[in-house]
Symmetry: C2
Subunit: 339 residues, 2 copies
């Protein structure tokens, strides 16, 4: 099952944890100047290095809609979807490891898990990394650590990130000050959906900015500590409301639930704010008929490319897509979630 | 059953028909200068004149909330509710005749029926009027007809009115031109709820302005003809929409239905627009789980005074009333409508 289909730890505030390791192979040009022949060789080498649990998907074989659908699931980067050069995505059967071969680096090894699970995600990524290190001549310098195309990834090559749901901090306009504080400790936060608009999903990604001069353990601990205090803060803010505010919140959450069940068309922008209100409703025990997993799966499934990728003929207008989205949601909410 | 609990003819455009006859008794002062003693005598005379099917309610015995609740059901005028002098409402068991004794005139005899039923309403009112004419010395002049306190009611003393639901004409901003046309033929139209605001109920009352020099038959026929062509126009406009407009209308209607089922608090202003969208949804076959009678009953029942009249303790804040309203609506929609 994909990361969004499973409930993780701290599901009320943490949507997912992600580890990304950047690696390159000695003897090949770094970056875009790599020849097509060398590119094919690298893809071959990576495929051989990985166990049979992995499925290779050559990106040129995919339609642009399918490629965008992978971006929407956070499995590949937007750049990786749009590049024209040879490149491939390798996925393991358990759907935890997603390896982009020939993105900015030769290898971008990723592990995504639901909820707060940075250590588990790192452990799984490190296992795969070990396999690659054994089979391939990975570029490593005793002083600098892992060599990467962009110097900002040098050293550990590690980008650890956590996707957070912060409706209370957003409502109280605390994100700019949080951003300022995180910067001081080498972390960065960015809004994911509809930031600054009415359709604000209140979803943010926090990740480390520094990869060099710190151990993997330090990087993970630093991020985990910061996320831990953000969770505590967010939860306290959600609790600390007047009776009237709680009532209005309940009203907002329930209305959003009603829209999911009743609307005839729903735009993706509107869905961000519905997601926010329904998720908060689940967190606060206001909404009991929808689970976090169902809602997260819905969130990914109704993204523009995910929504239409299996539709034939594809809906032609924005309105037709919005109708399809509303129908999809209604159907998904009829199905009882897994135990 | 009250008028709003029964489905009438042309329920998609006509909510109710109303006949009002103004009558006065010879030998008593007309209007506000009437002494308290004379007032009591009149109330006694009217009570005696009416059959045992009628129940007398002395207005001074009612709480202000109960009086306002009668206004909200359109059974008495706002003036009648707030006057301080002795006055009484007489209602028949069948809940079709409502007689205000000592409003502006000594007697204001009203019959309200659901849907388009002016002739039936007039017939019932005329029956009661005959009873009164036999028992009382009703002020009548061979040249002027029935004498009334205000000269605008002289002659027939008849005000015939029809309450219409005109969402399509409203959306196309055709009401001002309709008003102009109606004026030319001695009719008047006025908006009933939330006119000019976002919470527009699209409910209008059309009635005759002229009572003198025309026969009852002429007045009724003139109004019926006008209403007939308005119904035709409104229906044609509702049908004449693009596929996209029809889809967006369906979306709006279904969302309103969703709000009725899911919202935690609903203001009376919001209810006007929900009523409009849900009623249109019923008319267009979009909403099948709610009937016109249920919705009309709901409309009357969630009016501010109707809503709280049986609540103890009465809700203290506007928000508490809005919560009560939402709860009432949810409960009412769970109950299956009468066959």
């Amino acid at each position: 099952m994909s990361w969004y289909q499973v409930k993780g730890a701290e599901a009320d505030t943490v949507i997912s944890s992600r580890i990304r390791l950047a690696r390159n192979i000695n003897g090949y040009t770094f970056g875009k100047r790599l020849s097509a022949e060398d590119a094919k060789e690298i893809l071959c080498q990576v495929e051989k290095a990985l166990s049979e649990d992995y499925t290779r998907t050559d990106m040129d074989a995919l339609s642009s809609v399918s490629a965008r659908a992978l971006v929407e699931q956070h499995l590949i980067s937007p750049d990786f979807a749009s590049l024209k050069a040879p490149r491939a995505l390798f996925r393991n059967d358990k759907k935890s490891i997603y390896l982009m071969a020939l993105e900015e680096d030769h290898i971008r090894l990723q592990c995504i898990l639901p909820g707060l699970s940075l250590q588990d995600a790192y452990r799984l990524a490190a296992e795969c990394d070990e396999t690659l290190n054994e089979a391939l001549d990975i570029a490593f310098d005793d002083k600098l650590g892992y060599l990467t195309h962009c110097p900002t990834n040098l050293g550990t090559g590690l980008r650890a990130s956590v996707m957070l749901f912060l409706p209370a901090m957003t409502e109280r306009r605390m994100i700019p000050s949080l951003q300022h504080q995180l910067q001081k400790i080498g972390l960065t936060i960015r809004g994911m959906y509809g930031e600054g608009s009415a359709a604000h999903g209140c979803i943010y990604q926090i990740s480390n900015q520094i990869t060099l001069g710190l151990s993997v353990e330090d990087i993970l601990r630093n991020l985990e500590d910061a996320v831990g205090s953000i969770i505590t803060k967010e939860r306290a803010l959600r609790k600390n409301v007047t009776d009237e505010a709680a009532l209005l919140r309940e009203d907002r959450c329930r209305r959003a639930e009603g829209v999911l069940h009743f609307a005839k068309c729903i735009s993706s922008e509107e869905f961000f704010s519905l997601y926010r209100d329904v998720k908060l409703g689940i967190c606060e025990g206001i909404i009991t008929s929808i689970t976090h997993e169902t809602l997260n799966t819905l969130f990914i499934s109704v993204m523009p490319a995910m929504l239409v990728q299996n539709e034939s003929p594809a809906p032609k207008t924005a309105l037709a897509r919005d109708v399809l989205r509303a129908e999809f949601i209604k159907k998904a909410l009829e199905v009882k979630p897994r135990g």
